[in-house]
């Protein structure tokens, strides 16, 4: 099987093909550079061509044509992922779904949409239609697509109430095109959703999405300052445990994150300030203020509906999730991060232990998350990077302490996930992508079923750096 990329490109030349080298390069990259490890491995990766289908029919044509010519196809939305998930390791075709941007139907509690719609545009359409919005979104809401979020994300703003994308009920239906001689169009619900959600487009291309909706409110965004990290962490968790106070975001930033990296917040905090970011429903504000009044250690320094800041901070959610890392990176390029799961019921203890062990080399950034009906923390810890060996050691110490790591310094599904093969995704790839042309190099189980996970996987067909 020898790819004939040129033939595929030629056969698709009547579609919208990107020809500029700089645009092809730009469309071959995502936010992999958050990781110095991935930056080292993937910086040179480039597609041979980029195509932008305008309909599901064109998606089918592209997959069928590339199948015929054995041309790899890596699908992307906006490319805001951090795991290199949208990068074409073996070159070939990048299929960009930005033109599949129609919101098709909106009903009470659900929306049917194409995958290329920006999250913010999807929310705008749902709010305009009936005062609704999606349950959760990534901090890249303004630039990311709903398809990319589902194929490459796990949760985000709203997960403090609704849990993660993988949880039952947070995706209703996905329509998927396979990469076969004659591509099939399949509808997945229920157990089948796990085949292709968070699969990086390795085993099918999502062309339609049905998602649950929640009511849209004019969330009151806040920053709350603390002198003690422990108080800040307790505040965020206890607030999330108040069933009658509706929130969309609660996160915790260990000092000096706010002072060092949040430039518009800096004038309002000290280096020693630990910060909590919040989004609270306006009709829950009274309840929140009552909760606040019981905690004199907490000081609200910013309210989006009432503040005297000369320069506003912008959306508070753009300080959370992976935007925290982005803001830190802009100030200090040596910063990278980890993704950690601090599970119930020992989550607070575990955070304290990791903080004792590593601060300030590793600074705690926690996102409140619901998992199995309990409040837990997702850690997106900021790491002062020195060497890959030290990074691996930090990860090992977390894992030995019982803090699960979703390693963002790896480009495979397994290493970035739970470090085990997902049999459902693998089985479906065998069926839907028999030639292994979809996003090659991202599923170890496909390329090297006996891989031991003792060291970083290196995809053998990764483009050579020049």
């Amino acid at each position: 099987m020898e790819p004939n990329v040129a033939a595929a490109k030629e056969a698709l030349s009547h579609l919208e093909i990107e020809t500029s080298d700089s645009a092809i390069r730009a469309n071959s990259r995502d936010f992999f550079w958050y990781s110095p490890v991935l930056k080292d491995r993937l910086d040179h990766v480039t597609a041979d061509f980029v195509v932008r289908p305008k309909s599901e029919a064109e998606v089918i044509e592209i997959l069928k044509t590339c199948y015929a010519h054995d041309c790899p196809v890596t699908t992307r939305g906006a490319g805001t992922g951090n795991y290199g998930q949208a990068m074409p390791l073996a070159g070939g075709c990048v299929m960009h779904l930005r033109h599949l941007d129609k919101v098709k139907e909106i009903h009470a509690g659900r929306v049917i949409t194409e995958p290329g719609v920006l999250l913010k545009d999807l929310d705008a359409a749902c709010k305009e239609h009936s005062g609704q919005e999606i349950r959760m979104f990534s901090s890249t809401w303004a630039t990311a697509t709903i398809g990319g979020f589902i194929a490459g994300g796990s949760g985000g703003v709203g997960s403090c109430t609704w849990g993660s994308l993988r949880d039952l009920g947070n995706i209703i239906r996905l329509r998927v095109v396979t990469m076969e001689e004659e591509p099939r169009v399949l509808e997945f619900r229920g157990e089948e959703l796990a085949r292709v959600s968070h699969a990086y487009g390795t085993n099918g291309i999502i062309t339609e999405i049905e998602m649950p909706l929640a009511p849209a409110y004019d969330w009151t965004e806040m920053f709350v300052a603390f002198d003690e990290f422990t108080s800040a962490m307790a505040f965020a968790e206890e607030l999330a445990n108040h069933d009658g106070i509706l929130i969309k975001l609660a996160n915790v930033f260990e000092a000096p994150i706010a002072h060092a990296y949040f430039q518009r917040v800096k004038p309002h905090v000290e280096a020693g300030t630990h910060l909590v970011g919040l989004m609270v429903a306006p009709h829950s504000l009274d309840g929140f203020l009552t909760f606040l009044g019981r905690r004199p250690e907490a000081t609200v320094i910013y309210r989006s509906d009432d503040n005297d800041w000369a320069r506003g901070p912008g959306p508070v959610f753009e300080y959370g999730w992976n935007h925290t890392t982005l803001r830190a990176l802009k100030v200090d390029p040596s910063i990278t991060y980890l993704q950690v799961r601090y599970g119930f019921p020992n989550h607070r203890d575990l955070v304290e232990r990791m903080r004792t062990e590593f601060s300030p080399e590793v600074l705690q950034h926690l996102e409140v998350l619901k998992e199995g009906g309990k409040v837990i923390f997702a850690g997106l810890s900021l790491v002062k990077f020195t060497t890959e060996d030290r990074l691996d050691e930090i990860i090992r110490i977390h894992e030995e302490a019982g803090a699960m790591i979703f390693n963002p310094h790896r480009y495979t599904l397994e290493e970035g996930g739970r470090q085990t093969v997902d049999d459902r995704q693998l089985a479906f790839k065998r069926e839907a992508d028999p030639k292994g042309l979809l996003n090659p190099g991202k599923m170890i189980a496909w390329d090297d079923p006996d891989w031991s996970y003792q060291s970083m996987y290196a995809y053998p067909k990764l483009q050579a750096a020049e």
Copy 2:
């Protein structure tokens, strides 16, 4: 202080006064007869007159007038409470708020209403206006008022998601009239709400209510059958722990409750069937069915949107909360009940222990409830009543095992609650009802501050039975 009831009635004669003896008697009763103990003590209780104000101004006039004549005032909504909370133990005036039934304002996430609106009418107005509904309601939704629910209730359908009325955020604001020489009108928020919510109208009269709203959905109502009680209980709890599946009700009925007492359900179950009742949001049905598919021990026997029952069961929520007791009582008048709190994390073990100890004398009826961010059970156990001594013994054994009892066989706030004085309510009664004329006999702390709680409190001024 000698009440001059006749003078008060005369002074209020220009208002809507009920004169028929049978209507006065009907308006002097609530659902106290669920309890054989209360039935024994309170069956003869009757007001001297009933007045139905049409405005807050008339409420003020009634309170001012009755204050002047030392006439007790017991306020009621629809009288669907089970603790005798709306019964005028010392006679005097019953003030019925049914004409204060205006829904004043509806906004995104909140409603402002008068107290006498029926829960179903409030929901209808909110749904019509903007597809919203109240977060929680009692199973007496069709007949109870919002004011009565707040003054005399604790939670209900919706509490599996939103927690209890007392939780921060579940009531936004209450407007309250005091009973003084010159009644004052006060606005309570935050910490102040606890003064008068669930105070049986003993220390102020609620004339306006601001409540949070949730989106209204066409909830799919279901019954799910199990052969094993433990499976049914696990099913209800695990479902409630799925953060992405939105539910409004989850309850568990030990066999043979469904077969013995749910007449329209009876043809579809066996005597040994343990039943779970559910309300699931329509956009969560796919998630629910996936959850269901993993549990072959569960059999859906009824879906409101798809069934072949010759006679439908009516709303599934009318089988839950206190309607379970009502249905059992209609079949077997010797049935009464308990209200039990099975707290996290030992709730399931505690239920099993009580079941082992008492079944079938006490049958488990559990309502899934959120408390402090955790799923717990409220037990409204059905009790085959024999003697008061045995009932007290059953209660004692529950309490000794760690299952808190809110004793529905007592008419005082303290005994029906946590058996401790609520200092906030007592302090506010001193301020707002200096003569102690509001719903006399319901607050032990007012009448007998040194009461030991070793036996059932007997209000000394309780009307004598004839």
